[in-house]
Symmetry: C2
Subunit: 331 residues, 2 copies
């Protein structure tokens, strides 16, 4: 494995839609008793778009990252959108974000990469090779999610999610700096593909089927089966990720996990034996923002000074597919 790769996360950005929804708001809307969400989901605050679009949110997050790096969009030479669901069927969301950034005449290549909740992690992994090889000097990765296909009658799932966007800019690590990607790995086990899915809205079930089969167009997940599969695969997956670089989980300053659900995250954390203070959690006031959740949690870890330059961290997640993915990097 030709790692490590001299890649630096130059800056991060985050955007939450204006409409902030508390557990109490949602309990009222869904007719749940007071305290149900605190007890079952733990997501006390999430934001849902009202009028805002995924590409607008993505552009806001990107602008924050560009500002943080002291760069303009003209300093970016590739824009990759790593969301789970696009804004439109056609074209890709990255083009719409480019437009929202006022860069419609720029020619900056723009495309989407999708591995559901692992889209950002997979995008960072994949594009790091193009930066390392000098094809692109700086890549702007954006994950922006609007949870439009929520099943509001399934209180177990609809109380977990939130909308929002995150952005990350990468470039080659300057001489003398320690930032690098030490290892990256993704595995897909499609025997679990049906455990979390939204069957409609692609080319299998056109929206014209909506009134006959509305359930095709709603997200469904089998939480317990997903947890069991994650708990079964993650320990050996981490061996395959960490053993070649002779690391263990103990060597990580922070683990930045996908914020699937607070309950599943706590169980997985204990199963893997990671201490609570080394496990980044933002789900309680963001919800599960799907592919935006890992880069949002990374952004929060930086902002909250839980990670500093030179720290070794692990990005880790599971996704519909069923996929598992991890990246070990020196921030």
């Amino acid at each position: 494995i030709p790692m490590p790769m001299r890649i630096k996360i130059l800056a991060t950005g985050k955007y939450l839609p204006k409409n902030r929804v508390t557990a109490a708001d949602l309990e009222e809307r869904l007719g749940l008793e007071t305290g149900w969400i605190a007890k079952k989901s733990g997501v006390m605050v999430r934001h849902f778009v009202e009028g805002e679009t995924a590409s607008q949110m993505g552009a806001f997050a990107a602008s924050e990252a560009l500002h943080g790096a002291g760069l303009g969009i003209e300093d970016i030479d590739c824009l990759v959108c790593t969301s789970s669901v696009p804004e439109q069927a056609i074209p890709c969301t990255a083009a719409l974000v480019q437009q929202q950034l006022g860069a419609g005449e720029s020619g900056i290549p723009a495309f989407d990469l999708n591995a559901t909740c692992l889209s950002f992690l997979c995008g960072l992994d994949t594009l790091s090779y193009l930066v390392a090889a000098g094809r692109y000097r700086r890549v702007l990765l954006i994950a922006t999610e609007v949870t439009t296909g929520m099943n509001w009658s399934d209180k177990e799932s609809c109380t977990l999610f939130g909308d929002g966007a995150a952005a990350v800019i990468i470039e080659s690590s300057p001489e003398g700096e320690r930032s690098e990607i030490l290892a990256a790995r993704i595995e897909t086990y499609s025997h679990g593909a049906a455990l979390s899915e939204c069957r409609g809205a692609g080319n299998k079930h056109h929206p014209k089927q909506y009134f006959d089969n509305p359930e095709f167009f709603l997200f469904t997940m089998q939480g317990r089966a997903l947890y069991r599969l994650s708990a079964q695969i993650l320990p050996t997956f981490l061996e395959r990720l960490l053993q070649p670089i002779q690391c263990t989980l103990e060597d990580m300053k922070m683990v930045i996990p996908h914020q699937a659900s607070l309950m599943a995250m706590r169980l997985i954390r204990k199963h893997l034996g990671v201490r609570e203070e080394r496990w980044m959690t933002i789900a309680h006031n963001h919800g599960n923002t799907v592919a935006a959740s890992i880069p949002m949690a990374l952004h929060e870890a930086v902002v909250q000074k839980k990670i500093r330059r030179g720290d070794r961290i692990l990005l880790l997640g599971t996704a519909a597919g069923f996929s598992v993915g991890g990246i070990v990097l020196v921030y």
Copy 2:
């Protein structure tokens, strides 16, 4: 630019759905006079799925490519689906293709990459860096399209398209072989994003809006404006692609263009000054199969012996976004 990259296209595959639809069939269905399609679209045969899914077609095309390379799915270490529209909203189509290939327990990483009609070209470009760096030994790229959002009342567009799938396997070029990628380039100009789009079915317009706004869920394109933009950008784009490797279009044994429409392709070919015998055309009996059109045309160029090992070829296309892309490679 750190090109050339020692990448070889090991094998290709193609699949067309069983349901073959002639111009006469379609004229009858659409109430068009006999000969209208021959005159206006030129697509005399296309195939449309009846019961088959995108992931099934993708798996058939992949199996042909694997057979051609003398490999099994266990010899592949990354599966990337490069279609414009997914089969389902969740998970990514690559996971569904992995499942159709009977590799659900394999762990082979599977994700989608989307640049609309340029998805395959962008996927080949992007993944070639991971193969060159040794991250993946062999990558299976699949493009599989079902044109579900067709507007059957727009005879100008619905007579152009067809369904189908193509697959390509890449690996590092063995010592002593000439296969390599000489140059690759993608540019996105999102001021043209609205010239071809399908606004619905993503997170902006959920399928429940279908009966209020069915037009949101149909593909629309402004053919003349797209042609003008292509004709304006392509000549200078080709300079930016070819000048660094000191090539001209004359050095290409074959140009394998996206099969947008026969009329647009003929005009662009003349505009660029490429001779007809060096311009691969399959639209007349395949239609525009969206992102599958370039790898299908590549497959046909190989099968019809229009290209041989050692030939220099150009993959070239435009896409909704608006994007242009090109790859120069030694086959």
